[in-house]
Symmetry: C2
Subunit: 236 residues, 2 copies
Amino acid sequence: MTITWVGLDADDTLWHNESYFVSSYELFAELVAPYLGDVEDPYQTAHDQLIATEIRNVPWFGYGIKGATLSMIECALELSNQKIPASEIYRLVERAKEMMAHPVELLEGVVDALDALAEYRLILITKGDVMDQRRKIEQSTVAERFDAIEILHEKDQATYTAALERHNIDPAQFAMIGNSLKSDVYPVLELGGFGVHVPYETTWALETAEEPTGHPRFALVSTLGEVPAVIERWDQ
Amino acid sequence: MTITWVGLDADDTLWHNESYFVSSYELFAELVAPYLGDVEDPYQTAHDQLIATEIRNVPWFGYGIKGATLSMIECALELSNQKIPASEIYRLVERAKEMMAHPVELLEGVVDALDALAEYRLILITKGDVMDQRRKIEQSTVAERFDAIEILHEKDQATYTAALERHNIDPAQFAMIGNSLKSDVYPVLELGGFGVHVPYETTWALETAEEPTGHPRFALVSTLGEVPAVIERWDQ
């Protein structure tokens, strides 16, 4: 066996996530654009400033709905010179709860793909706010298909190393599947493992990266349904 | 050996925490009280309403600075009928960052108490926002004295059971030390372990409970410095 364990990311790999953030970003841009004066594209400027605020705040707020909402509130107050009315800030707070209450929607083909991977040991490896992630995992109906679950505060070489050690997983026999090259693919390739990139319809600005070229332990596929064949091919 | 592992809570057991929240609650009450009309004690009403909001929001927001701040913003908007100005909301966001940036201040006698407990295996068991907790643990200078660290999303029988299993700790040989009866003492007593209550100067409303009476595996002490003698006495 070349591959014994398969890791799967959750947000935007097993279920929709970024699309809800995108619609919150749109609400944010709508609320804030009127305060931006005569810039050329106020929606785009609002969006760009929000991303800049999020990047600045990640070390404090981490990933997840709570941190994104605090960044939105902070950025709305700053861009409007604190002129935005309280009622519009309240819409951002309400929006956070709507996001949290949103039912988990599995991506198409997830159950079939997990069925096809059942001969491997499966580990779900996600990052972000522990509350958010737990709620989604519990709601997802697929948690019981995994032999292990890890919620990490960041997905880099150090956190993967520690997580794989906790489960006695040899990186050389480990394949990680996910929608983020930065969080799901590169750190695992660098540890000697395999990586499969399954891009989601949109990628958060903090997660964009270049595809590896000609890497023997990397594959790019268009849906999760193609993953089992890739793993089988490596696992000769 | 009756006791092989000693667990210690972190916030308000090893270092100050609640006192910073208390001063944020005071800021909140100051900002919100003017909008409360003719209630008898507007400061107390603001505080009580904030606690009610936090209790309602714990399932969504969990514990920690981000969740508390979102609850403050939501409650300020609701109690002011959305009349509170944006500049005052901004003070709450700034306050969150001040709390996060606050250096960790060890409680008096912590280092001596850890020295005196060095013959036992030590595990730090805390709950709350992972980002907050990690930052404080790293800053605390005492992390290296622990054989294990667990950041739980909740501290109840189920989460203690899982954490103790991860480290092969027999609950019957485990003593947990902390400032919260609800989170540090009762769940461990119920699992057959030992519990020591070291009350902090203030207790968050969500953590109040009655002291156990006449329990053979419980002790109430006034400082962490008294803990080693209690553990020695049990460990005959």
